[in-house]
Symmetry: C2
Subunit: 299 residues, 2 copies
C-alpha cells in the first residue's frame, strides 16, 4: 500500500502541476527536492506571480524512521517507527472573485520491530472564497459529495461537518472558508478495506481539478476594484491566522523541525491587517462574514 | 501601587499618542474603549495610514477578577484573584529604512481572600529594522542602558540577553529584530523595593520616545525602491510569524478570550510571503539576516 500510494501521489503531483501551468499560461513551477535528516524527503513545487495564480504550491513528502516524541503524543501511540507520505496543494488565485483552494491526502504506517502495527489514510479539500458565488460553492460541494456517495451515504455529511469544525478560526468565531471535506484515521474496518480507502482517497485526488477549475475559469477574468483586492488581502490575513494559530499540520511540522519553506508553502503571498474593519451593512463583504459565522449546508 | 501605576500608564498613553500624531502630521488616533466581561477593560488607540506611520497602536488595559485557569497555569500560582494593568505600543513606520518599535510595561497583583499575596512588574522595548543603520541600533541600546545603569549595573546585560532570547523566531533560527530589553517578575527584593521598580519602569516609559524618535526623524524621508518596500513586507511576515507562533502575550490573550482587535493590534498592516527567498550575496538584505542569526552586542 505504501508503495502504491507513493506512486499515486507522485503522478498526481505531476498531472496537477502540469494542468495548473497550462491554466496559468505564464509562470512555471520551480522544483525543490529536499531530504529529511532522519529519513526520507520530498519534492516541493511552487509557482509564483502567474497570470491566474499569485501562488500555487504542490508538495509531496515521504518521511520515515523513528517516531518523534511529539508525533507519538499527537497520534497517541506507543509504536516506535513510522512511515508517512502525502500530497498537499494550495492555490491562491490573483483575482479576488476566485477562491483559494487547499487539499491534502496522506497515508500513515506504524511499526514495532519492523512489523506493521497500524495504518490509516487522512486528508480533505476545502474552499476559501473572498466573495460568495453560490453556484461555485454548490459545484464544489457536489463534487465532494459525488465521490463520498460512491462509498458510503454518511461520508459526505460526516466529513463536511468535520471540515467545518477543523477550519474554524476560534479566536474570531468564524470559519476560514466554506469548507468541503476533512477526514482522518481512516482505518480498515467492516465496511471499508484498506483497498477501499485507497480507492476513495484516489477518487478524491482525481477530482481535485474538476472540483476547482470550472470555478477559476469563470472567475479569473472578472473585473475587480482596488477595494475588493484589499478585501482579499484582509481575508488572506485570516488564512495566515488559521495556519499559524490552529492548523495541526503546520504546528506539527514546526515542532518536528520540518523544512520551513515547505511547511509554510500555504502562506498567502500578500496579507493585510486593518484595525477593527467592519464591512458596510448590506455589502458583499458582510454577506461573506455572515456565511462564515454559521457554516451552512450547500446541497 | 496599582492606582499609581494605572495613573502613570494613562498619562503615558496620552503623551505618546499626542507626540506620535504631531510627528505623523496627517492621521489621528481612533479611540476604542472596551470592557472585559469578567472585570475591567481598556482603551485601545490606533492610527492608520499616516504620513510617517503605516500603523501605530497604543493600548492600555486594566483587568481584574477571578484568575482564569490558563493564566494561573502560565504564571504558576494557586492564588485565586488578580489585577493586571499595562500599556503596549507598536509603531510600524511606512519607510522601510525606519525600524518598527514595540514596547510594553505591565504590573500584576495576586490576592487570596482580598489580601495582596504577590506583585511584580514586567515589560520591555525592542527594535525591528528592515535595513541596518549601526548608529540607530547603538542609539537605541544606549538609551536602554542609560536607564538600566541608574538602578543596577547588571540590568542592561541581563535584560538585553532576555530580550534576544524572547524575540527569537525558533522555527527560522533568527531573531525578530535587534532586541532591546525584556524583563518579567520584577518583585521587591533586597536591592529593589517595589517603589524602586516603579521608578525603573516609569523611567523606561519616559524614554520610549527619545529612544526611537531620533531614528524615525532621520529615516522617515529617505528614498527607497519598490524592492526595498517588498523586503519590508517580507520581514513583516516574520513579525506576524513571531506574534502568532511564539509571543506569549498574544497566545495568552487569545486563550483567555481577550478582545481580538486589541490583541492583534501589533499585526503589521501589510505582510508578504515569498517562497524560499534568499537575498543576494553582499546585499543589505543579507547583512540584516546575518545580524539576526547571531544577536550581537551593540555597545
Amino acid at each position: 500500500m505504501k508503495n502504491k500510494f507513493s506512486l499515486y501521489i507522485d503522478k498526481l503531483q505531476e498531472s496537477i502541476t502540469s494542468h495548473i501551468e497550462t491554466l496559468d499560461g505564464k509562470s512555471k513551477f520551480k522544483k525543490d527536492n529536499w531530504k529529511r535528516e532522519k529519513g526520507g524527503g520530498g519534492l516541493t513545487m511552487v509557482l509564483e506571480n502567474g497570470n491566474v495564480f499569485e501562488k500555487a504550491g504542490v508538495n509531496v513528502s515521504k518521511v520515515y524512521g523513528e517516531l518523534p516524541h511529539s508525533m507519538a503524543e499527537l497520534i497517541k501511540t506507543n509504536q516506535s517507527d513510522f512511515f508517512a507520505c502525502g500530497i498537499s496543494l494550495i492555490l491562491h488565485p490573483r483575482n479576488p472573485m476566485a477562491p483559494t483552494f487547499h487539499a491534502n491526502l496522506r497515508y500513515f504506517e506504524l511499526y514495532e520491530n519492523n512489523k506493521l502495527k497500524d495504518s490509516w489514510f487522512g486528508g480533505g479539500l476545502d474552499l476559501t472564497p473572498y466573495y460568495i458565488f453560490n453556484e461555485d460553492v454548490v459545484h464544489f460541494h457536489k463534487s465532494c459529495k459525488k465521490i463520498c456517495d460512491k462509498y458510503n451515504e454518511t461520508f459526505y455529511q460526516n466529513y463536511k461537518k468535520k471540515c467545518d469544525q477543523y477550519f474554524w478560526n476560534s479566536h474570531r468565531n468564524e470559519a476560514r472558508g466554506v469548507g468541503g471535506l476533512f477526514f482522518d484515521y481512516c482505518r480498515e474496518n467492516d465496511k471499508m478495506s484498506i483497498e477501499n480507502w485507497f480507492s476513495f482517497i484516489t477518487d478524491l485526488g482525481n477530482i481535485f481539478l474538476e472540483s476547482y477549475c470550472p470555478i477559476i475559469e469563470k472567475r479569473k477574468d472578472m473585473g475587480f476594484s482596488d477595494k475588493q483586492l484589499k478585501w482579499q488581502q484582509i481575508r488572506r490575513g485570516r488564512y495566515v491566522e488559521f495556519n499559524l494559530l490552529h492548523d495541526k499540520g503546520t504546528l506539527f511540522g514546526l515542532r518536528t523541525k520540518g523544512r520551513i519553506e515547505s511547511i509554510l508553502i500555504s502562506m498567502p503571498p500578500k496579507a493585510h491587517w486593518n484595525y477593527n474593519l467592519i464591512p458596510e451593512s448590506g455589502s458583499q463583504e458582510e454577506k461573506l462574514l455572515k456565511i462564515l459565522k454559521t457554516p451552512k449546508n450547500w446541497i
